[in-house]
């Protein structure tokens, strides 16, 4: 750590870590409702509330992690302190307060009712304020720099894109098809656009710092990667426009562009491995590297392979709206974004706290628990989804009847979920054993 104000990132990582724990607990609760028909909590936390909390916590903790990562990364890249650490703290408290208000609201039946964007409109405006504070703070910090790096530029581009796209998810549209048309601008263009830019620049920064390879090499490939991500990802939004009341040409456009989406991800895998192979400095703390390589591989499998498997309209016609999508969603989010966040945390926290640990065994145990359990979980969901597609779409069986045939696979999913939770709690324990940042000296 070179700049005092980078310490602000630690608070963000604490919040992200705790919310991650809460998120997976709600995952278990949501999953249990598939396994047992009788739901004793039906009138207190019904499935829709439980799912809303599970997926909202996911998005919020990942965003808080990205923000923390940004606050850690930008001073080092811009070679200057954060413009206002106080504003950064206010922003975090405001964001967490909005998150808590949203969860309490869901439990009380207060919802805006579009998946992932269930936050009532007034809270959404609060989120916009948080985003504006954040962008202002980052922008003012970057303005102080004497040299603009590509990493900073891509990161800022991703953050601005992220904030702008959120605006498409705020307003009520009378026509459901049109509402969903804009809804995908938030959901798809976040995860296959803006977030990829943020994650790409974070991973480029970490690899640069850890391996000591030439900056020009890292930045050149960062450009190529995000160029390919945006080329395939923007028009690739079309794979969500097959069946929602949109014209038929999206079947072609969405099919072609999204079929290319695995290319940049595969590219990232090679890029990561090449940087590690060509390292110029001895890497003392290998843990972030394990997470980074793990993320590259799981990102490719979850987003690339699992996504490609059902992205073509000829296949998607049968699998759309089944557990196949749930399988892909869990796999892709975990590989692409959960593991990137944990990479960043394992990279930054020891540098902030200055605590040198002898062994890293616990972190690897957490990694293995999470990776293997997620793998079994998404496999179970994929099988459930394929069986469901067959029974419902090929044989024409009624939806509720199909669910009886999926019980075994839901049980496998749920047991695997306990494995994920175990891994997450080992991680949480490990996080707090990395020490606390020394008090900021005035």
């Amino acid at each position: 750590m070179k700049y005092e104000t980078q310490k602000i990132a630690y608070q963000y990582f604490v919040a992200a870590t705790l919310l991650f724990g809460l998120q997976v607990i709600f995952g278990l609760l949501t999953g249990a409702k598939y396994v047992w028909d009788y739901d004793p909590l039906m009138n207190i936390i019904p499935f829709n509330t439980s799912r809303a909390i599970h997926i909202n916590l996911l998005v919020v903790w990942l965003l808080i992690g990205f923000m923390g990562g940004t606050y850690y990364l930008v001073p080092e890249e811009a070679e200057t302190d954060i413009y206002s650490p106080r504003l950064a703290a206010v922003q975090l408290y405001l964001f967490v307060a909005i998150g808590v208000a949203a969860i309490i609201g869901y439990l009380a039946g207060w919802s805006w009712g579009m998946p992932f964007l269930e936050q009532p409109t007034v809270l959404k405006f609060g989120i916009v304020i948080v985003a504006l504070i954040f962008l202002f703070n980052i922008f003012m910090t970057m303005m102080k720099t004497k040299k603009w790096t590509v990493i900073q530029g891509v990161l800022l581009g991703g953050l601005v894109m992220l904030a702008l796209l959120f605006l498409f998810g705020i307003f009520f549209v009378r026509n459901l098809s049109t509402q969903y048309y804009w809804w995908w601008w938030v959901i798809h263009l976040w995860v296959e656009g803006a977030w990829e830019l943020v994650a790409g620049s974070i991973i480029a920064f970490i690899l640069l710092k850890m391996t000591g390879v030439d900056r020009e090499l890292v930045e050149k490939w960062l450009y190529v990667e995000v160029g390919l991500v945006l080329f395939t990802g923007i028009a690739g939004t079309g794979h969500h426009y097959y069946w929602i009341g949109t014209p038929g040409y999206w079947l072609w456009v969405g099919g072609i562009f999204s079929a290319l989406e695995p290319v940049p991800i595969l590219f990232m895998v090679f890029d990561t491995l090449r940087d590690v192979r060509e390292k110029k400095i001895e890497i003392e703390n290998k843990i972030p590297l394990y997470w980074a390589v793990g993320s590259a591989v799981m990102h490719f499998l979850g987003a690339g392979v699992w996504g490609f498997a059902h992205t073509l309209p000829q296949i998607n016609k049968w699998t759309h709206g089944t557990q196949v999508t749930a399988s892909h969603g869990h796999f892709a989010f975990f590989g692409a974004y959960v593991m990137i966040n944990l990479t960043m945390i394992y990279f930054a926290v020891p540098r902030i706290t200055g605590v040198v640990r002898k062994g890293h065994g616990r972190s690897l145990v957490a990694l293995r628990f999470m990776v293997f359990s997620i793998f079994f979980m998404v496999l179970a969901l994929a099988i459930a989804g394929i069986v469901q597609s067959y029974l419902q779409r090929i044989l024409g069986m009624d939806y509720l009847t199909t669910q009886d045939y999926l019980k075994l696979w839901y049980a496998v999913m749920w047991v695997s979920g306990w494995g994920v939770v175990t891994g997450v709690f080992i991680y949480i324990f490990d996080f707090f054993s990395m020490g606390r940042p020394p008090k900021i000296t005035a």
Partner: protein
């Protein structure tokens, strides 16, 4: 490759994809009112959409294939269900459809229920490029189903009765009902279930139009 070539890939990749995407978005938005028959999108439909959102229905049910996977997709539900049946169902879901996986009673007002049914009826008419597909097995069989089968589906009979292994356990299996009951017996059972079984929980279907009643009786009698 140099840094500036990398930058060129970034800029051109982004620009080309964005231009294609925005161009098609402009075209799609201009065509979607017709594809969604927006002229029929009344205030009741819009209010129904808000009711749908307000109760967070979409985190259990999918619609247009998007949402939670915990409950049936509702895109084309009104092709399968009678509006009156749907209203009664929404009033007290478990009473009308005693499925093992329950839908909670949302205590909706009659007005909200009416708007929801208007909304779902409007959604049913959206041109979804043929999704959800017609089940392959049905398409392969090639035969047109008897009109009574549609009545059987619309009235939600399979909530309680099994047909070929599919359906509920509340009432008797109807797979071979035509070989044990006469058409007249079936008609009377539909109109007044308690005339045969004084404690029957089955509701009367005397509200059916004479044509629907005849179609349903013909369909059930054909099950041998």
């Amino acid at each position: 490759m140099t840094l500036s070539q990398g930058r060129a890939i970034f800029i051109w990749g982004t620009v080309i994809s964005t231009v294609i995407f925005l161009g098609l978005t402009y075209d799609s938005i201009s065509k979607m009112p017709k594809r969604t028959h927006a002229e029929e999108l009344s205030d009741a439909v819009a209010d129904g959409k808000w009711t749908w959102q307000r109760y967070n229905c979409n985190d259990c049910h999918t619609i247009l294939g998007i949402g939670g996977y915990y409950a049936p997709d509702l895109t084309k539900v009104m092709s399968q269900r009678d509006p009156e049946w749907t209203k009664q169902f929404l009033k007290d879901p478990h009473k009308v459809w005693p499925a093992k996986r329950r839908m909670p009673n949302l205590h909706l007002t009659d007005n909200e229920i009416g708007n929801l049914v208007a909304f779902l009826t409007w959604v049913n008419g959206i041109d979804t490029n043929g999704w959800p597909p017609k089940p392959m097995a049905v398409a392969a069989a090639g035969s047109t189903p008897l009109p009574g089968e549609a009545v059987f589906r619309a009235q939600g009979c399979s909530a309680c009765h099994k047909l070929n292994g599919v359906g509920g356990d509340i009432g008797p299996d109807l797979t071979h009902v035509g070989s044990t009951r006469t058409p007249d017996w079936i008609k009377q059972q539909l109109e007044n279930p308690r005339s045969h079984f004084p404690n029957s929980p089955m509701p009367s279907f005397s509200k059916l139009s004479p044509k629907d009643m005849k179609d349903l009786v013909d369909f059930l009698s054909s099950l041998k």
